[in-house]
Amino acid sequence: MITKLHHALFIALVSILCIVTLPSHAAQTLTVYTYESFTSEWGPGPVIKTAFEKECDCTLNFVAIDSSAGILNRVQLEGKSSKADIVLGLDYNLMALAQDTGLLAESSVDLSQVKLPIEWDSKVFVPFDFGHFAFVYDTKTLSNPPTSLDELVNSPDDLKIIIQDPRTSTPGLGLLLWVKAVYGDDADSAWKKLKPKILTVTKGWSEAYFSLFLNGEAPMVLSYDTSPGYHMAIDKTDQYQAAAFDEGHYLQIEVAALLKSSPNQELGNAFLQFLISKEAQSAIPLTNVMYPSIDIGDALPPEFSKLIKPSKSLLLDTETVRDERKGWIDEWLESAN
C-alpha cells in the first residue's frame, strides 16, 4: 500500500519535473537594447518587430533604456553576461568608446547598399539612419532666420535660442562639435558671443522641444534638419522649418551592433541586415524622423524632399571626439558660463 502510494507519487513527481524541464521548442529570442522612443508605439520598434518576426521565426524583444549613452553603460556593466544580442541606437560619437569595450563583434552584414553623406568603413557598426543637427524655427515668430552659424553667433542678443547640454544630451554634444568644426580654436570666442542669445540649456531634447519651444518660449531650438518633415507629414503644418546654414551642418549617424557574447550570432547578423533592408528603412523617416541609411526611392515621404539640403556634412572622426570631448566640454563650461 505504502509502496504503491510512493510509486504513484514518484511517477507524478517525475512527470511534473519532465513537463517543467522539457526543452521548449519555442523559437529563438533576440534581445535588442535600444532607447525609449525607438520602442514607442509610434516609433520604428513595433513596425520592425512585426516585419522581422514574420521572416525569422523568432521573437524580437526590445528593451528600452533611458538614453543612447545609457545603452552603452548597460552593456558595459553587464559585460559578458549581458542579455543583449544587439545594441541599437548608439551614435557616431559613441562608436570609438563602444569599440574600446571589446564587447562588440564584427558583423557579416553587406553594407554595399548603405548611402550616407560620408564613406562608411566600420565593420562593427551598421548605420541605420542619419540626419543633421539644425536650428528649427517657428515661422510665425521669426521670418528671417540667420543663414549661417556665423550670422547666428553675431545676431543681436534679442534673438533667443534654446539648446541642449553637451554633458547630458546627444544634440547638445552635436552643437559643441558643430561649433568646433566651424570655428576650430576660435570656438571659445564664438560661444562667448552666442551666450547672451541662449535662453536656456536643457537636459535633453524633450525638455527643449516639448516643454519650451512648442510653448513659444523662443523662436529657435536646436534639433534636426528632419524635424520639419514630421510636422509637415503628420501634423500637416509648415509652421516649423529648419534654418540652412552656409558653413554646413553637423552630421548625426545612428548605429547598431552585435555583441560578441551573444549566442545568436547568425540571427543577430540577419537582424542587422534586415535593419538596412528597404522594408525596415521605409519606416524610419516618419517613425524615427531621420533619413534612411539606404536609398528607399519612392518610399521616402514627399515632405522629406522639401527639407533643407545641407551644403556640407560636417563630422569630426569618432576617435577625436572620444579623446577630446572631455576637454572641449570643460572649455565650453568656461566660455558658455
Binding site: Y35, E36, S37, T39, S40, E41, W42, G43, N61, F62, V63, A64, I65, D66, S67, A69, G70, L72, N73, R74, Q76, L77, E78, G79, S81, K83, K160, D165, R167, T168, K195, I198, L199, T200, V201, T202, K203, W205, S206, E207, A208, Y209, F210, S211, L212, L214, N215, G216, E217, A218, S227, Y230, T287, V289, K326, D330, W332, L333, A336, N337
Partner: protein, 539 residues
C-alpha cells in the same frame, strides 16, 4: 506574552532597516568596491565640482526657505478658514504638484511664467516690461511650485491636530491673532518644521532636470548633474562615487546640524475633530482669503496650463488607445502596491524608533533610525541603478525582477514623505498615553488598534495617497531597469515626446494628472471611514 511583545520592539524597524541597507546601502558599497582608487580629495579639490557643490547648496537653501516660509502663512490661513467651497479639493490638488513628472511641470510653469506665458502677457497688456524666469528665479519658482504644497499640507496637518482645549483657552483669554499664532499655532507647526525643511532641502539639492532646464545656462548645475555626466558619458565610476559620497556626507552633516534644534512633540489632550473657536476680524478674514487665493493661483494655474494643452485633437485617440489603457492599469497597480509597501516600511521604522525615543530614552538613536529612511533622497538614481546592476548581475536576472525592483525602489523613494507625515501623529499618540497603556499592560496589536490607529488614521490616508501618487508619477525608477513588460504612463509620456507625438504626449500627461488625483482621493477616503473599527467606535 506581554514581555515578548516588549522585547520585539526592534523587529519591525530592523526589517525595514535591512531592506534599506540591502537596496540602498549595498549598491553604493558595491560601487565603492568596484572602484580602483577612490580619491575623494582630488574630486573635491576640483574647482568645477566645488562650484557645483556650492551652487547646489545655495539654490536648495533658498528654495527650502521660500517653500517652508511661504507655507507657514498659507497653512495658517487654510486652517483658519475651515469652511469654503472646494477646500478639500484644493488640498487634494496641493498633493499633485509634488508628483507630476518634471518635464510636464516645466511645461505648465512655462505656460504661466514663461516669456510668452500668461503672466507676462497680462503684464505686457498693462504696459510693463516682460520678465524672464531663466536663471535662479526659474529654479526657485519651480522648486516652490513642487514643495510649497507639500510643506503646506504637512503643516496644516499639525495645525488641525491642535487640541480643542488650546483654542478654547486662547479664545477665552481673548488673545489677539498674533498671540494665537505665537502660543497656539507656532508650537504645533514648529515640531514639523525642521523635518519638512530638510526633506525639501534635500529634494532641491539633488534636483536635476529643473535646475538645468530653467537655470538658463551651465552655471546652474547640481552635484546630481555632475554625477550623471561622470557615469553616463565618461563611465567614470571613481568620480561618480566620490561625488555621491560627498553629497551623502554633505546632506547628513546638515541633518546632524538640524538635530541641534531640539523640538518636542506638541502636547495636546483631545482627539475630537477640531472645531475652530477662532473668530477672526474681517481684516483677518480678508488676509486669509487673499493668501489662499494667491497660493491657489500659484499652484493651480500651471496645472491648468497642462490640462489645457492635454485637450487637443489627439485626445480621443489617445484616451482610447490600448497602450494608454494598459499603461494606466499598470500605473495604478504599481502605485497601490507601492503605497502599502511604503507605508508598511515607514510605520515599522517609526514603531521601533518611537520605542527607542520614549521607552528606552535613547532619543538620538531613535532619530537616526528614522533619518535612515531619508537616505534614498541623496542617492542619485543613476548611482543606485548602476550599483544594483553590479550587485545583481551575477545573482539574478534583472529583467525578470524589474517590476518588483521598481516597486521596492519607488516605495523607498516615498519613504521620507511617509515618515514626515506619520512621525508626528505616532509620537503624539505615545506621548499622551504611553504611561497609561504601560500600566494597563496593553501592547502589540491591541495597542495599535486601540491607541495608535484612531490617531493616525487620517495621516495614514495622506501618506498612502502621497506614496501612491509619487509612484504613479515616477519615471526614474522604471527607467533604471528598462523593463519591456510594464509600460507606465510616465514612460509612455516620454516615448511619445521622443516620437514627436507632442499632442499625444500632452494628453498622456493630462491623463496622468487625473489618475494621480483619483488615486490620491481614493487612498485618503479609504482610511477616513471607521468601518474597520466600528466596535471600537461605538464604545
Amino acid at each position: 506574552m506581554q514581555l515578548t511583545m516588549f522585547q520585539r520592539w526592534w523587529l519591525p524597524g530592523a526589517v525595514a532597516l535591512i531592506l534599506l541597507a540591502l537596496l540602498v546601502g549595498l549598491p553604493l558599497i558595491a560601487l565603492i568596491v568596484s572602484t580602483s582608487d577612490l580619491n575623494l580629495q582630488t574630486t573635491l579639490n576640483n574647482t568645477y565640482y566645488k562650484r557645483v557643490i556650492w551652487f547646489s547648496f545655495y539654490q536648495a537653501l533658498i528654495s527650502a526657505v521660500l517653500s517652508v516660509g511661504l507655507a507657514i502663512p498659507l497653512a495658517q490661513a487654510l486652517s483658519r478658514e475651515q469652511k469654503f467651497l472646494g477646500r478639500q479639493m484644493l488640498i487634494n490638488l496641493f498633493s499633485l504638484s509634488l508628483v507630476i513628472p518634471t518635464i510636464v511641470a516645466i511645461f505648465g510653469i512655462v505656460a504661466v511664467f514663461g516669456r510668452t506665458g500668461w503672466l507676462n502677457s497680462a503684464i505686457g497688456q498693462l504696459g510693463f516690461e516682460p520678465f524672464s524666469i531663466y536663471g535662479l528665479s526659474g529654479i526657485l519658482i519651480a522648486h516652490v511650485f513642487f514643495n510649497l504644497p507639500l510643506a503646506t499640507r504637512v503643516l496644516l496637518q499639525s495645525l488641525d491636530n491642535i487640541p480643542h482645549e488650546q483654542w478654547r483657552l486662547s479664545t477665552q483669554l481673548r488673545m489677539p491673532g498674533l498671540a494665537q499664532f505665537k502660543y497656539v499655532e507656532w508650537p504645533a507647526m514648529r515640531t514639523q518644521l525642521i523635518g519638512v525643511f530638510m526633506v525639501i532641502f534635500t529634494l532641491c539639492f539633488t534636483s536635476f532636470t529643473i535646475v538645468m532646464t530653467l537655470g538658463g545656462g551651465p552655471r546652474a548645475t547640481t552635484v546630481e548633474v555632475a554625477i550623471y555626466q561622470a557615469l553616463r558619458f565618461d563611465f567614470d565610476i571613481n568620480t561618480a562615487v566620490s561625488l555621491a559620497i560627498a553629497q551623502l556626507v554633505f546632506c547628513t552633516a546638515l541633518l546632524l546640524a538640524s538635530a541641534l534644534f531640539k523640538h518636542d512633540a506638541s502636547i495636546g489632550f483631545s482627539y475630537k475633530p477640531v472645531e475652530h473657536l477662532y473668530r477672526p476680524t474681517s481684516t483677518h478674514r480678508w488676509r486669509n482669503r487673499l493668501l489662499i487665493l494667491l497660493g491657489t493661483l500659484f499652484v493651480v494655474t500651471p496645472l491648468l496650463g497642462m490640462i489645457m494643452s492635454a485637450i487637443n485633437p489627439a485626445s480621443i485617440k489617445v484616451l482610447t488607445h490600448t497602450n494608454t489603457v494598459q499603461a494606466t492599469i499598470n500605473t495604478v497597480i504599481i502605485a497601490i502596491v507601492t503605497a502599502f509597501l511604503s507605508v508598511g516600511i515607514g510605520v515599522s521604522l517609526l514603531i521601533s524608533s518611537r520605542h527607542l525615543r520614549i521607552r528606552a530614552q535613547k532619543h538620538n538613536l531613535g532619530q537616526w533610525i528614522q533619518h535612515a529612511g531619508n537616505i534614498i533622497l541623496v542617492m542619485p538614481p543613476v548611482v543606485l541603478g548602476t550599483g544594483l546592476f553590479l550587485l545583481l548581475r551575477n545573482v539574478a536576472d534583472v529583467f525578470s525582477i524589474a517590476l518588483v525592483l521598481t516597486i521596492i525602489i519607488n516605495s523607498l523613494m516615498a519613504l521620507p514623505f511617509v515618515l514626515r507625515i506619520l512621525d508626528g501623529p505616532l509620537m503624539q499618540a505615545a506621548n499622551h498615553h504611553d504611561k497609561l497603556i504601560q500600566s494597563l499592560g496593553i501592547s502589540g496589536w491591541s495597542r495599535w488598534r486601540l491607541l495608535d490607529w484612531p490617531l493616525i488614521r487620517k495621516p495614514m490616508g495622506f501618506a498612502l495617497g502621497i506614496a501612491a501618487t509619487l509612484a504613479a508619477g515616477d519615471f526614474s525608477a522604471i527607467a533604471l531597469f528598462g523593463s519591456e513588460r510594464a509600460t507606465t504612463l510616465p514612460l509612455l509620456l516620454f516615448q511619445r515626446i521622443g516620437s514627436y507625438r507632442l499632442h499625444e504626449a500632452a494628453t498622456t500627461a493630462g491623463i496622468l494628472l487625473v489618475v494621480c488625483l483619483i488615486l490620491f482621493t481614493a487612498m485618503q477616503s479609504m482610511t477616513s471611514r471607521t468601518i474597520f473599527w466600528r466596535s471600537h467606535a461605538k464604545d
